[in-house]
Structure formats: structure tokens, C-alpha cells
């Protein structure tokens, strides 16, 4: 851990915000031309045929990613959220890898489906249990400022005191073209952020094809991805056979990255629509 990582993409946001925001004068219509028009029939071939995720930056907000894991490969950037001597949260470069294996597992799933994405690890887990919520919020805020088009969040918080700020961050992400893909909870508890409409929430199905995914017309869980009996990347360069929504989530994140690899201009709203239209239970998913 060393240098504080700068917010290198702040400039871009300011340019983006010059677009009409509150009303649309006649002369501004040209400036909001939509760069991608969905075809009459969105198919998987149209959506991600030929895409490897190249050029798409995917952020894994988790426990870190083990470096040099054969199933994960190159990790372009690893940072951690830590408290400095004054107790202030900082995002610093991280050389510790993964402390529990969870982030590595998620990164491996993304890499398997979208081999050419750029992976960034933001470590927000595994650094003790007190202040964990603050660390999570800070890491998420940083990821949004960096403008990662896809952020995988295979985690949730049950602390209601964070809900409002988390909700604001989720909305900010949505408006800044950052798609948060979050694990749903299959337990009788209230947890967040997967319940927010501005994120994509993911539960598990029982099939073995990694590209089989379903749209759920009865939210809050919006999509089901592969989450049963997977061999996921694990600490020490190995694999572990696991089941859980934690692993269904990066499947949907990876498909999102494939789509953005081919259609980088899609907004989270459009991307969600394409995911719906290419789901295995929708017309374009065949």
C-alpha cells in the first residue's frame, strides 16, 4: 500500500454535464442524438457477437484479487480503502492481493466470459468488522468517480444507517453510466444495494451454461445467472466448487461487459434493456 490514487476521470464528468439537463431547447436536440439505436430484433449476435470485452473497464468491489491467478490473469489496478493516521478514509494502491478469496472468485468468473476486459480491484472487505460500511461506501464512491462502466458488487449491507447514502450513490452511478451489478439476498432480511431499482440485482439459477441467464418480471431480483456448482478461482492459484448468488452476479457483469465491448455508448438503462432482450427467457436470447 502506498500512494493515494488520484481521481483521474473527474474531468470527463464535467464535460458530460454540459449536456442539457433540465430542459431541451430546440437547438439542443442534435446534441442528444442517441449513438446506438437498438435493432427491431435484438439478438445475442447483435448484442455481443465477436466481443471479448476488450476496452471495457470492470471494477470488482470486494476482498481484493489475488495477483497472478491463472484463472484471473492480468489485474490492471488494485486499490484498497484504508484509514490513515487521522482516521480519514483513503484509496491507496494495494499490494495485498485477496484476503479471503471472494474477490478472486468473482474476478475469475468475469475473466472466463469476457477474457479481454481490464480488471480493477477495489478492496473494501476483510479489514475488520467495525467501520466496514463506511469503507464500502467510500470504495463505491471512488469507483463511480472513476467511471467504471461495470461495477461488480457480490455483497450487501444490512445496516439501515447506510441506506440513504448508498441509495444516492446507486443513483449517481446510474446517471454517470456506471452500472452496478449487485448480488440479491436469498434470506428473509432487508439488505442493500441490490433492492434499489438503479442497480441490476442478480440471483441464481440451477443450470450449468454460463451464458444462460433469465430476466425476472417479478423484481426486486431482476436477473438470474449461473450460481450453482461452479469451479471458481480460489486463493493459492486453485479452484473451489461453490454455490451462491455471489457467483451468479459476475456472470451478469461479464455479459454486460461483453455488450459494452461492442456497444460502448449504451447507458445503464439501455444496457439493462439489452440484457432483458437477450435473456434466455426472452425472444433475443435464443
Amino acid at each position: 500500500m502506498s500512494a493515494v490514487v488520484p481521481h483521474e476521470h473527474e474531468q470527463e464528468f464535467e464535460e458530460e454535464e454540459e449536456l442539457p439537463a433540465w430542459s431541451l431547447p430546440a437547438e439542443a436536440v442534435d446534441r442528444i442524438r442517441v449513438p446506438v439505436t437498438l435493432p427491431e430484433q435484438v439478438t445475442r449476435e447483435w448484442a455481443w457477437g465477436g466481443s471479448t470485452g476488450a476496452g471495457v473497464r470492470v471494477c470488482i468491489l470486494d476482498s481484493g484479487i489475488e495477483l497472478d491467478h491463472p484463472l484471473v490473469g492480468r489485474v490492471d489496478n488494485s486499490v484498497a480503502v484504508v484509514r490513515d493516521e487521522d482516521g480519514v478514509l483513503q484509496v491507496v494502491e494495494d499490494g495485498e492481493g485477496d484476503l479471503c478469496g471472494h474477490g478472486t472468485a468473482c474476478a475469475g468468473v468475469v475473466r472466463a466470459l469476457a477474457p479481454d476486459v481490464e480488471l480493477t480491484s477495489v478492496r473494501v472487505l476483510g479489514a475488520g468488522y467495525t467501520g466496514g460500511g463506511e469503507i464500502l461506501l467510500h470504495g463505491l464512491g471512488w469507483a463511480i468517480e472513476q467511471g467504471f462502466p461495470i461495477v461488480n458488487m457480490s455483497l450487501s449491507t444490512t445496516r439501515t444507517k447506510y441506506v440513504e447514502r448508498l441509495h444516492e450513490l446507486a443513483d449517481r452511478a446510474y446517471f454517470r453510466r456506471v452500472l452496478l451489478v449487485a448480488s440479491a439476498h436469498n434470506m428473509p432480511v432487508e439488505s442493500f444495494p441490490w433492492r434499489f431499482a438503479s442497480v441490476i440485482s442478480v440471483g441464481s439459477h440451477e443450470e450449468s451454461d454460463p451464458l444462460t441467464f433469465y430476466y425476472n418480471p417479478n423484481p426486486p431480483v431482476e436477473f438470474f445467472g449461473r450460481g450453482l456448482d461452479l469451479d471458481v478461482a480460489w486463493l493459492g492459484g486453485g479452484t473451489l466448487r461453490c454455490t451462491g448468488n455471489s457467483f451468479a452476479t459476475p456472470h451478469i457483469a461479464a455479459v454486460g461487459a461483453l455488450i459494452l465491448g461492442k456497444h460502448p455508448d449504451l447507458t445503464p438503462f439501455q444496457l439493462k434493456s439489452v440484457l432483458y432482450q437477450t435473456a434466455s427467457n426472452a425472444r433475443g436470447g435464443a
Binding site: L99, C100, G101, M187, S191, G238
Partner: protein, 210 residues
Amino acid sequence: MSDLEAAVAAGVLGADEAHRSLLQATVEVARAIFGAKAASVFLLDEEAEELVFEAVAGEGEDELIGMRFPAGNGIAGWVLTTRQPLVVDDLSSDTRWSRSQAESTGYVPKSMMAVPLLVEERALGVLSVLDRPPESRVRLREVDMLGLFANQAAIALDLLQRARRAREALAGEGRLAPLARVAARLEEDERDAAFELLRAFERVLVETSD
């Protein structure tokens, strides 16, 4: 007074034992339903950042209660931190984990289902089910069912912790200990008088604070 109220509500004396039995019953049913070799509940000790074996059914039942290990490690630590249930089917491939597990408990499971114990917004610990029969392939229904058991275990664990806190408050150096000692020393009719005095004192406090 909330600790004293909790103490009274929980009945304190004996409640500890009753809640422990409820927790034990939960792990025993979980073990039986899944046909597993063992099932256990770990309590999170937030201050020490450790998980403590609080109830065990099956393998290790007699030795493990009270044993501690770091809360950030292993499958249980992962489940606690992510608040997500997890099923792992070939633990033997994680040699580091198996070794440390063997050293601390003397038993190395091959498979593990683990689920966080959540009460309202707090994570109290982890419920784990070890070594289901080899032929039983886990389905998502089983994971959902484990979540239901976890709900029950979390309630039992919550009651147990409340009773313990109440007892601590009333014993030894606890904040309410003098009150408990005085109450214990008084005869039945004196106790009524003493509580009447306390109520009068409370009324005075309320009036002066107005």
C-alpha cells in the same frame, strides 16, 4: 433501565440455559434435515474479531464449544463479511484452509454450507452444515432452506446474547449490580417498599427534569 428491563423480560436466571437449548435444537435439526455429519453455530465476538463455537451437533460436539478462531478467515469469515450464504463442495482443494482447520478442530470437512446469522441489521454469527452425504447434490432449494434455519438460529442467538448482557449488568461490577444485590437481600414485603421508594425517586427525577 433498559438492561434491567431486558433482564426481567428474559427471566435471566435459567434463560441462558433455555436459549442455549434452543440453539442446540436448531443445529441438531439442521444436521438431521441435511443428513450432515455436523452442524454448528458460531457467535461473532466483535471486540476480539473472533468467531466462537456456540453450539455444535455431531462431529466435535463435545470438544468445540467455546473454541475461537479469527473472524476474517475461511469460509465463515467470508460469509460474515459478504452477508451472503455460500456452499463449498470440495474444501480439500483449499489446502491452507484444511490444514488450519485440522490444527484447530481436529476435523477436516469435505463440504460446507454456511449462512450468516442476521437479526434486523446486525450480523451475529454464522450457521454451518458440514459434510452432507456424498450423493446429495445441493440445489438452490437447500440453500433457501438453510436461510430459514439461519433465521431461527439468529433469533436464538440474539436471545442468548441479551440474557448474557442482562446477567452481566446485574452481576459483579455490572452497572445494575448494586440494585440486584439490594433487591436480593430484602424480604418480600421490604422489596415492595423499596420499589415504592424507587418509583417515588423516579417521579422526583422526572419533575426536576421538567
